[in-house]
């Protein structure tokens, strides 16, 4: 990363030339791909019946490649643990909103919760799902934070942390259920699959929302009065 | 594993275990430390005695541990190994006694004796190594174990000396490693075999073999202090006297010389080496080292440095004996491994005594010292005459056999080298003897310490007397069974007799 050192014009041109070559090479690779490729569409189609959901992206996310999704929740949690290790307090400790903002947010927040719930429910059949719902929930949290709402002190400690880890935890636990049915980890029994996935998604979206809001807050809520 | 297989391991452990225990000892546990040291040294001597008897009666002592695929770590006590083993275990005992006396009351003795024991462990490992890989292992361990002894005093000079010592030995070790791996890729084995194991290779590999020979000899020549790889040795003189004694007479330079013996006889085979044409250059190098070391020794006023250059010169007798490539010269070279050890350790003990008792570090301070410390100087004189090659001290035997061997091999130039070297030896030893015995002592010594009725501490006096006596006995009774000479003949027969 040489911001100033490359200031020399020749170096700059060289960089641009290099990047152009990289682009050219990559473009060549893309253009050389077969113009038609079904990828894994067919296999996904064929296996949809065993998933308990009807939307293929959700099936891939929560079932076929559920393990990826588990790790992805871990990444979110990790980012939060990292942010908390960096900053003890939050920069939003004592900020009061104006009346207008305050009223509006009190109106919007419940609405956003509702939208999140819908997205979650819809996810099994059409675009939507835990991450979209979680994002909306997180946004609600951000709006509330900006308008001066604070988590009660009693909830800011381990209860909050419990919610934050709940997404990953439920994933692991549901996965372990398979053990007792003699199946492979994260293999949901067919008749339960739909319900289990919904359960995971519900808790995961709560955890995602909480994590995103907490990331925005930027520090451990209990670390400041 | 049979009982016999355990003996080499026990020989290793007899110094390794006390060494490790000593590291953990508190500085003040003098008695326990001394007990451990002496018990280890005596045990080792006894075990080596058992093996000596056993080997003479046809036993083999061998132990193998699987290492890399196709390569074992192996220890084997054959006749050649025993020559070095007897020397090192005997001198370890003597040096330990001396070091206990020498270091009395000085700091960090647990560390010192710990590394001292590791150093001996590495040396006996070098002696018993049954292949190049095991040899390398102990050879490098020796480097590491001696480094803390060289820098023991913790001064800036000591640190620099340590740096130089390492630069040479690590560099040499690296070359050896290169040579060994190369050899392995060519032959698929590294096992020491009488008359070598490379002569069967296709002649197209001969240039490679010559290079490997150069790598190995360079690596070993560092420790054996062949010119131009000798510079570390005089610098390492900052170490305490028992360390110098150990470095010069027993461990480091001997490991190098012994390694050259192994490489020439049991890797390449002496006849095949001659065929490759590598022995003559080696002999010339050894001869040059002999002369150069002696010349430099003459001009050193510092006693230990003079002795150090003397070592540079004397160790190369061993190499010379090997490189002449005749059975008789081989005997001379091998026997010098022991003889030089006995004589040189005596000289260093005496130098240490002079420094400890009277604060004498320089030759020019030695006027009349024979009157103040007669026993020390008697031992010194005996060893010095041995070095010059005067009968009946052991050094004479060496030179006799080297000379005969050179005649036998038709290499008459060696006689000139031997004669010149003896003259030079006389030139740097006789003035010392003259000053010590025939000059008037000064009114005060540089730094005198009082030891009551005796001329110095008992633990400092006995070791040089014992080793000097041994040097005389090795010369007087050279024809007796189990004398170093007879043993060297025993080995030489195995290396040369062909069906």
């Amino acid at each position: 990363m040489t911001p100033m050192g490359f200031g020399a014009r020749a170096g700059h041109l060289l960089l641009i030339a290099l990047l152009a070559v990289i682009f050219g090479g990559l473009a060549l690779a893309v253009l050389s791909l077969p113009s038609e490729s079904p990828g894994l569409s067919a296999q996904v189609e064929a296996a949809m019946g065993e998933t308990g959901v009807t939307h293929p992206v959700t099936a891939v996310l929560l079932d076929f490649r559920g393990y990826d999704t588990l790790l992805e929740l871990v990444v979110l949690l990790l980012a939060l643990a990292g942010v908390w290790s960096l900053a003890e307090g939050s920069p939003f400790a004592d900020r009061r909103p104006g009346t207008m903002l305050d009223r509006l947010s009190r109106f919007y927040a419940p609405l956003m919760l509702l939208v999140a719930g819908y997205l979650l429910w819809a996810g099994s059949a059409s675009p939507g799902g835990a991450f979209q719902a979680g994002a909306v929930l997180g946004a609600a949290g951000v709006v509330l934070t900006l308008t001066g709402w604070r988590l009660p002190v009693a909830l800011a400690g381990w209860p909050l942390r419990l919610i934050l880890v709940s997404g990953v935890s439920i994933f692991i636990l549901v996965g372990l259920v398979a053990f007792f049915f003699g199946a492979v980890w994260l293999d949901y029994p067919l008749e339960w699959a739909g319900a289990l996935i919904l359960l995971i998604e519900a808790i995961a979206s709560l955890a995602i929302g909480a994590t995103l809001a907490a990331l925005f807050l930027g520090g451990r809520p209990e670390a400041h009065p | 594993m049979t009982l016999d297989a355990w003996v080499p391991l026990l020989v290793l452990c007899s110094s390794l275990v006390p060494g490790l225990l000593i590291f953990g000892l508190d500085e003040s546990r003098v008695r326990l430390r001394t007990t451990l040291n002496l018990a280890g040294a005596l045990t080792k001597l006894a075990l080596v005695g058992v093996m000596l008897w056993g080997v003479a009666h046809g036993h083999t002592y061998e132990v193998r541990i699987a290492f890399l695929p196709g390569l074992d770590l192996a220890l084997r006590a054959g006749p050649l190994a025993l020559l070095f083993l007897v020397l090192s275990s005997l001198l370890w005992l003597v040096t330990t006694i001396y070091a206990i006396g020498y270091l009395e009351g000085s700091p960090h003795r647990s560390r010192f004796f710990g590394f001292f024991s590791l150093c001996v462990t590495a040396t006996v490992g070098v002696a018993m190594a049954a292949d190049m890989l095991t040899f390398l292992l102990f050879y490098e361990m020796l480097t590491l174990a001696t480094y803390p002894l060289v820098v023991h005093r913790g001064t800036e000079v000591a640190r620099r000396a340590g740096q130089v010592y390492l630069a040479y030995t690590i560099g040499g070790g690296a070359l050896m490693l290169l040579g060994i791996v190369w050899l392995y890729t060519l032959t698929g084995t590294l096992e020491f075999t009488p008359r070598g194991f490379v002569s069967e290779l296709d002649p197209s590999h001969h240039p490679a073999l010559i290079l490997i020979f150069i790598f190995l000899i360079t690596g070993l020549g560092v420790k054996a202090a062949l010119i131009p790889l000798h510079a570390w040795l005089p610098m390492a003189m900052v170490a305490p006297a028992p360390v110098s004694a150990l470095l010069h007479a027993v461990a480091v330079v001997k490991a190098g010389a012994f390694g050259i013996v192994r490489v020439v006889y049991e890797v390449f085979g002496v006849e095949f080496s001659a065929l490759l044409g590598v022995t003559l250059p080696l002999a010339i190098l050894a001869a040059a080292t002999i002369i150069y070391g002696s010349l430099r020794a003459i001009f050193q006023d510092d006693l230990k440095r003079r002795l150090a250059f003397s070592t540079v010169s004397q160790v190369s007798y061993i190499v010379l004996g090997v490189a002449i490539a005749s059975p008789i010269a081989t005997v001379g070279g091998l026997v010098h491994l022991v003889h030089q050890g006995l004589m040189k350790i005596t000289l260093f003990f005496c130098a240490g005594n002079l420094a400890e008792t009277l604060g004498i570090h320089k030759v020019s301070e030695m006027n009349g010292v024979g009157r103040r410390m007669p026993w020390t100087m008697v031992a010194f004189t005996v060893a010095a005459f041995g070095m010059i090659g005067a009968p009946p001290v052991a050094g004479f035997i060496t030179k006799w056999y080297l000379g005969l061997g050179a005649l036998d091999a038709g290499q008459h130039w060696v006689l000139v080298v031997l004669a010149a070297s003896s003259l030079l030896n006389a030139a740097y030893f006789l003035p010392i003897l003259h000053a010590a015995w025939f000059r008037e002592p000064p009114a005060t010594w540089p730094e005198e310490r009082e030891f009551g009725r005796r001329e110095t501490a008992r633990a400092l006096l006995w070791p040089p007397l014992i080793t000097a006596l041994a040097a005389v006995l090795a010369g007087l009774f050279a024809a007796m069974p189990f004398s170093p000479l007879e043993w060297a003949r025993f080995i030489a027969e195995q290396e040369f007799t062909r069906p």
Partner: protein
């Protein structure tokens, strides 16, 4: 040129553009944004090329991957911004010191 390929080439363009910005700009916020642009480029390649099916219904697997990728990018960006604030707090500037440490 099919739309799929067009998306992919655009994605590659974003990737290289982001890379350029990442190298050239000194301010950490710009670097973090540049990294996000690069990420979007990669996601566009991943999702765009998924449309090369005969049926016209795109392959769902890359879409799931993109969602995962976006979440990872969000998490990384959050950590990066937080770290940037700390760097700014500790050194007084939100940029990396000059190259003396290399």
């Amino acid at each position: 040129m099919t739309p799929a390929v067009l998306y992919a080439l655009t994605g590659l363009g974003l990737f290289v553009l982001g890379l350029y910005a990442l190298i050239v700009h000194a301010h950490l916020l710009r670097k973090i944004l540049a990294f996000n642009v690069m990420g979007s480029g990669v996601f566009l390649v991943l999702a765009g090329l998924a449309g090369r099916t005969a049926s016209g219904i795109p392959d769902p697997v890359p879409h799931a991957m993109v969602i995962t990728g976006i979440v990872v990018a969000v998490a990384a960006t959050a950590l990066a911004l937080s770290l940037m604030l700390r760097v700014a707090g500790a050194t007084g500037r939100a940029r990396l010191p000059d190259e003396h440490e290399r």
